[in-house]
Each structure stands twice: as C-alpha cells, then as structure tokens.
C-alpha cells in the first residue's frame, strides 16, 4: 500500500502564514486557559490522600460522603466514581504524618457500615514531597531543553536549535492547554508524558532537519524556502506513518489503560497529534524565519571539511615523520 505515491513537492511554506496564525491562536488560547483555569493537580504535587475503594455492589456514594463529612481530615474531600459503579475514589488534601493509625486506617473505620468494601489503594503524599517533585520536574524539563539546544546546535546550527525549542514549547503548551480544558489530573505520570512529548517532538523535528541538511549538502540550490519545502515533502510520508503507529499504541493505552493511566495517556494522545503537526508545519518554517543563510552554512560546512582535510594531512605528515 502506498499513501504517498508521488514524489510531489508541496509548497508548505507558501501557506506558512495560515499555519502560523493557527498555531499562534492555539498557543495563546492554551496559555490563557492554563493561567485562568489552571490544572487539577494530583496529590503528587499538592500533597494529600487518594483512597480507592471497591464495593461488592454499587458504591453508596451519598452514604460515603455523609460518613466522611464527620471527620475533619475529610472536610474538603471529594468522592467520585472510578472506572465502574462499584468503585470510588476519595480525594482529600489532608495527609497524616504518623505511621500508626494513618489516614488509610481512619478511612476504613469511617466507612465501616457503608457496605461490603475493600480498600484497594491508598496513596498519601506529604506536602514536602510535592514541593520537591515540582522543583525536580521543572529542573528536568529545563535541563532537557538545554541538552537538546546543545546537541542540535552541535549537530546542525543554533538557528535550527532555537526553532526546535520553540516548536517543543509550542507542542507542550498546546497539549497542556487541552489537559487544563478537560480537567485531566496532572500527576507524576503527566510529567513523564510531558517529557515524552518533548522527546517525540524533537525526534520528529530532527528527521525533517536531517533532510534539510542533506539537501543543503547535496544540491546547489540557494533558495532555502525551496529546500525546506522539499525536505518537508519528502519526510512527510514517514512523519505521518510513524505518527500513525505511535497514535495506535497511545490510543490503546488510552482505551485499555483505564483511569489510572489517564494522566499519562491523555496528554500523550494530544501530544502526538500536535507534535506531528508542528514538525510538518511549524519547526521547519521557523528556521526560515530565524534568517537562516544557506550560503553561509555551506561555507561553514566547506570550512569544516577543509579543516578536517588539513588535520588529516598534518597527521599523515606527522606519522611519516615529515614534521
């Protein structure tokens, strides 16, 4: 089967302004959404307790709420159905420091009499841990960006790196705009998803960049726009196909992974779509806008080759004992 049969070169950059506008609007909508609505952070960040309870019959949610109300640990607790009508999740911002008689034990005592139940999961995170996680998550994110900036600059050029970073931020902001809009729990798995999207986005972008570099090296074409158009057109089939396979697996995670994986699978699902879009329509476009100079780059490459040749010559001479 061939979805992309002809070696046609599309004028992606010609439509650049439209995509720029679309990205721009989405990006700032996402930022507005995140700053106004924020995230529903999970206990990993805020500290607190999550208790997952499974009843043998349908869970008596009203009764559970009624019983919990009497204890001040559960003053701000929420009780929601989780996956099936038998199961509920109780979430409270409170946590306990003692090891004996902790909040899990308390929950069990409180729920006694609401029916036949089993406590399947108790996650309790103290406030200190959440702070640490926030710092660590942010450090990891910034460090990764820096590492990418450095490698792409080293392998390509700083303008490529800058464009890649902007594309990454674009992908992540838009993705998490969706996370904010749909009020999906933002937990430690979401941080993993965030870093995954980052990795995926740079992966896609580099494949396109590699093609651009190849065209610069192999052709005499000095029109950078044409070079980019060709590179994007040629990699477009691969970008779409890989996105499809990744989309397949993320979709199965989303469908079968259940509510417990939601914090990971939902951002991934959006991230794959946005990442694919940006590597075709945004990342390469941005390199053009940073004022990349083909002739200059070729000259730099030529110098590199010259330097290498000179070094080798020197070494050869050295080895032969001439110098």
């Amino acid at each position: 089967m061939e979805l992309f049969k002809e070696d046609k070169i599309y004028n992606f950059l010609g439509k650049g302004k439209i995509f720029f506008l679309a990205s721009f609007v989405l990006f700032f909508l996402a930022i507005a959404l995140i700053s106004v609505k924020g995230f529903s952070f999970g206990i990993d960040f805020t500290g607190g307790t999550v208790v997952q309870v499974k009843y043998s019959g349908a869970a008596p949610i009203e009764k559970i709420r009624e019983s919990l109300k009497k204890n001040e640990l559960f003053a701000h607790a929420t009780v929601t159905e989780f996956g099936s009508p038998q199961e509920v999740v109780i979430k409270t911002p409170a946590s306990t420091m003692g090891l004996s008689n902790d909040i899990g034990d308390t929950t069990k005592k409180i729920l006694t009499g609401t029916g036949d139940f089993e406590i399947r999961r108790v996650d309790m995170v103290g406030p200190k841990v959440g702070d640490e996680l926030r710092v660590k998550g942010l450090t990891a994110f910034l460090l990764t960006l820096l590492a990418i900036m450095a490698t792409v600059t080293f392998r390509y050029e700083w303008r490529f790196a800058l464009a890649a970073i902007i594309a990454i931020v674009h992908d992540i902001v838009i993705t998490f705009g969706f996370v904010s809009y749909f009020e999906v729990d933002f937990n430690i798995e979401s941080v993993a998803a965030l870093l995954m999207i980052l990795g995926y986005s740079i992966h896609d972008t580099i494949i396109v960049y590699d093609r651009i570099r190849e065209h610069i090296e192999e052709s005499k074409n000095t029109d950078f726009v044409m070079i980019v158009n060709e590179a994007v057109s040629r990699t477009q089939s691969r970008t779409t196909l890989t996105s499809l396979t990744v989309f397949f697996v993320v979709l199965t995670l989303f469908v079968f992974g259940g509510d417990i994986m939601m914090g990971f699978s939902f951002p991934m699902l959006i991230g794959v779509i946005v990442g694919t879009y940006s590597s075709i329509f945004v990342a390469a476009q941005l390199v053009v806008w940073t004022g990349f100079n083909v002739a200059g780059y070729r000259q730099m490459l030529a110098e590199k080759v010259k330097n290498r040749a000179e070094k080798e010559k020197m070494r050869a001479q050295f080895e032969q004992g001439i110098v």
């Binding site: 108790v122 309790m124 798995e189």
Partner: protein, 524 residues
C-alpha cells in the same frame, strides 16, 4: 543465500534476548528476573522522614545523665541540671570541683563547654551534630531492616533516599491489617527508659504543669494503661534501652503475655547501684514516653533483668520484643509518602496494561504488514526481537517493571518501527527514482542512519535526565524507554539490513515490489 555478519549479530541478539527473558516470562525460580513493581503486584511503599534534630536532643539528655552520674559518684554538688533542645545547663556549687569536672568533659567527645562563674552550658559541635544526624538515619535504616527481617515478610527493601529519607518497600503485604501491623512495628521508637519517681513531689503531680515540673528537673508522664493517671519522674533517666541485651516474650502469673528484658553488665551495675540507694522509693519503667509500671524498690536488684507488663496480646508482645531487641530508633520517623496497592488492583493493572500491549502491538504489526508487505514483516520481526532484548536487559539489571514502565513498553512498540519506516520510505524513494534494488537498499540505510542516530541520541539524553530527576515509577519508565531505543537501533539498523542482504538475490530476481516493499514500481 549468504550469511553476513549483520544477520549473525541479529541472531546472537535474538538468542540473548530469548534466553535471558525466559526466566521472567515463565516466572521460573532460577535465573535473573524482572521484578514487578508494587503498583503491579500489590504491596506497601513508604517514604519515611527522620526527625534527626530529636536525635540531637536525646544525645544531650544522655550527656546530662552522664553528668549527673559522674557528679554523684564523685560527690560533686551541682544544681539545676537541665537539657533543652540544644544545650545542657547546670550550676556548679563548689568551684573547687571545677578541675575534676573539666577532666570529665575532656573525655566526652564533640562537646563545647562554656563555664562562667559556676554556670555551665554544654553544646555539641556542629560537626558532631552533623555526624549524629547521619548516624541517626543510618541507624534507623539498620533498625527497620532488623525489625522487618524478624517480622518475617518476603523481600523487604529498606534503602536510604537523599540525605535523611528512607524508602521502605514491602511487596509481601496483602491485607490492611498486615499493613497496619508492619507500620506500627517500623515506627515504634522502642525507647525503654528506667526512671526514678520523684517521691518528694509525686503527691502534687496533678497540680503541676509541664513547665513547673521542668523547673524541678522532673517530667510528667502518662500511664500506659490508665491514660488519666499521671506520674512525676526525674527527667534524666537512670538508664535506657541502649544497655539492653535481650527481650523475650514471657507470661506472668495470670498467664498474660509480658516482655522480659535483660541488661548488659554496665546497665546491671548502674541498675544495682541505683536500687541499692533507693530502697522504699519507686522505679518507673517507661516505654516510648509512657509509664508501664512503677513498682516500689524493696531491695537492691542485681542481675539486671526486668519485666514490662501491659494488656498485650501475644502478637503485640511479640512485635514489641522484636522492636526492643532491634534497638531503639535514635530519632523518630514520620511518613512523607505512602502508596499501598491491594493485590487485586495490581492484577487489574497488569491485565489492563497487557491488553493495551497486545492490542497496540497487533495494530502496529497489521499496519506494517499491510503497508510494506515483506519489508513490514521484517520490521515487525525487528520489533519482536526488540521486546525480547528489552526484557532480557531489564532482567539482567534486576530492574523493576512498574505500570509507567509498562506504558513505556507499549509506547515503545509504536516508536520502534519508526527506524524501519524511515529506512523503508528511503528505499521506496530510491526505487521510485529508478535506482537498482541493491543500491536503493544500501543507500536507504546509509541515508536513514544519520537521521536515526541524531534523533535517538537526543531522545536517550532526554531519558537520562528523566531517570536522574525522576522518582520511583518514573525511573522505570525512563529505563524501559532507553533500553528500547538502544535495542531498536541495533535491530533496525544492523539487523533488518542483514535480513535484506540475506534475501538480496531473490529480491533482485523476483522483482515483485508489491510483495517485498508494498509498492508498485513504474516500468521504465
């Protein structure tokens, strides 16, 4: 068909992958295996903090009780001996004894003694404080490990995290009752103190406030069995649990479980001396700040053994004896994070993630076969080998497979075919341009190689950072993904190329591009 080194390498990698992933797949007893994370097999995960500053306080208290013993032995008159959270203070009444006292302090390490007139204040040096804090954490880890070993749980993990945190993982915990018991055992301070009852003021205990009692160098403690009853004891204990050598469960005359403890020779000596001069007074047996009994001393008690009686069940007495034997915690611990997963939820998670794995895998395999024909089959083969290699590497490293780790593997299946897609698209491009098959394949690989390397190196970099800064389950995710990236470079770049080379003659002769590459080649 000619064997080439690439195919040989692929075969070796495949055999390696299968052999070392077999123990994990069959769950056999022998061989290195991947351990399932607590979120998959169920169990208790705790991150404990250590209140190290309290170790310092209790060290100061024991300095104070040393001073008190020394003074008594040498007939030095001191007054107002008091230990606060960072200093020990007292008044020396007769300045002639100062030399003797200074001699004593020279032998106590890590202290700074300031004396002006007759008032002494003793603090610990910052170095000694730091050392003590580190020691408190290490000792807590050791103690918790000892207690858990004696408790008889399968494969407990107790490890230091950062500077003052302890990670405890107990996969053996299946019910909430077990969990509660384990938590209590771990957290028990098990601090045994033998204290003198302040007989002069004991009658007024209910009128005294804590501050007032402290002024007298006393402390008000609750009774363990009747919380309303209060005891007034000397603040500085006669001796504590560090001098304990053994603790066993015994039974008293009413057949109630008790804990019988034995002191070492130094403890026995101090205990003997104290009881000899305190006949007629009471001795309080204090455990974790509660008075368990306060018998009247009838005569000098030698031999150094004693008994703690409370309303224990045999299991409680047993746990307490374990705690006493393994020693007191130098500093109290508290819960920073706890995750407990019931075994049924773990099983559900395994089922859900396996379902995602199988269906994701199925979709990708079908798609690749449909789209690329035999080239797709080769890519699929590479992915399967890839999975074996990931599992084998993880088994050999003794890595833990968590739920995010499973997600990482599922995600990886989608990403693993990418290298093959890049290569196949390149080959098709060449073929479409009319390049001969052999050259199209060779060029496809060499051109795709650079892109694959560049992007994978950046991704592995991202994974490394994720590993370094990630916590717990996230680390597992980073591990599976980077293993996968490495394995996919091997299988896609080296392995699948080898397979093409193996069949090259046939591909060239056969010329059925639909079958081999899933494409139609325009006749030229």
């Amino acid at each position: 068909m000619k064997l080439n080194y690439r195919v040989v390498l692929l075969i070796i990698a495949t055999i390696f992958g299968i052999i070392f992933s077999l123990p994990s797949l069959t769950q056999s007893e022998r061989g290195a295996k991947v351990t399932l994370g607590l979120d998959l097999q169920g169990g208790l995960h705790m991150l404990l903090g250590v209140k190290t500053e309290e170790a310092v306080t209790s060290q100061l208290k024991s300095i104070a009780s040393g001073v008190s013993r020394f003074a008594e032995k040498n007939d030095i008159m001191i007054d107002g001996l008091n230990a606060s959270s960072d200093t020990v203070t007292f008044e020396l009444l007769d300045n002639d004894d100062a030399v003797l006292l200074d001699g004593y302090f020279k032998k106590v390490e890590g202290t700074v003694v300031r004396a002006s007139g007759g008032s002494y204040s003793i603090t610990m040096t910052p170095v000694a404080v730091e050392k003590l804090k580190v020691q408190a954490v290490d000792q807590a880890i050791e103690t918790i490990r000892n207690r858990l070993d004696q408790f008889g749980l399968a494969e407990p993990t107790v490890a230091k995290q950062g500077v003052d945190k302890i990670l405890v993982e107990l996969p053996g915990i299946k019910t909430q009752e077990e969990e509660q018991r384990a938590r209590e055992l771990i957290s028990r301070a098990a601090k045994l103190e033998l204290m003198a009852v302040d007989e002069d003021r004991a009658m007024r205990v209910n009128e005294l406030g804590d501050a007032e009692a402290m002024g007298y160098g006393d402390k008000i403690l609750e009774d363990a069995l009747q919380p309303k009853v209060k005891h007034l004891v000397r603040e500085i204990p006669i001796l504590d649990g560090t001098m304990l050598t053994n603790a066993q469960v015994g039974y008293d005359q009413n057949n109630n479980p008790t804990i019988n403890f034995t002191l070492n020779s130094e403890g026995a000596q101090i205990f003997g001396d104290f009881t000899a001069k305190s006949v007629g007074k009471r001795l309080a047996i204090v455990l974790d700040g509660k008075v368990y009994s306060s018998p009247v001393i009838n005569e000098r008690i030698g031999g150094g053994s004693g008994q703690i009686s409370g309303n224990y069940t045999t299991a409680e007495a047993n746990d307490l004896a374990i705690a006493l034997r393994s020693g007191a915690l130098l500093a109290p611990i508290y819960m920073m994070e706890k995750r407990s997963v019931g075994p049924s939820l773990g099983a559900d998670s395994i089922r859900a993630s396996l379902l995602a794995l199988v269906s994701g895998f199925g979709l990708v395999i079908l798609f690749m076969m449909f789209y690329y024909g035999l080239a797709g089959v080769i890519a699929n083969l590479a992915v399967v080998i890839n999975l074996f290699i990931i599992l084998a590497l993880m088994s050999l490293m003794g890595a833990t497979l968590t739920l995010p780790g499973m997600a990482g593997i599922v995600l990886h299946i989608g990403l693993a075919v990418d290298a093959n897609i890049i290569i196949n698209e390149r080959i098709r491009e060449g073929l479409r341009a009319g390049v001969p098959t052999r050259r199209a394949i060779a060029e496809g690989y060499s051109k795709a190689m650079r892109a694959i390397l560049d992007s994978n190196v950046t991704q592995i970099l991202a994974c490394t950072i994720l590993y370094v800064y990630g916590t717990g389950a996230i680390k597992g995710f980073a591990v599976t993904l980077s293993m996968g990236l490495l394995a996919s470079m091997l299988t896609a770049i080296v392995g699948s190329y080898g397979i093409y080379l193996l069949f090259m003659d046939r591909i060239e002769k056969n010329k059925n591009y639909t079958l081999w590459f899933g494409m139609t080649r325009k006749a030229k």
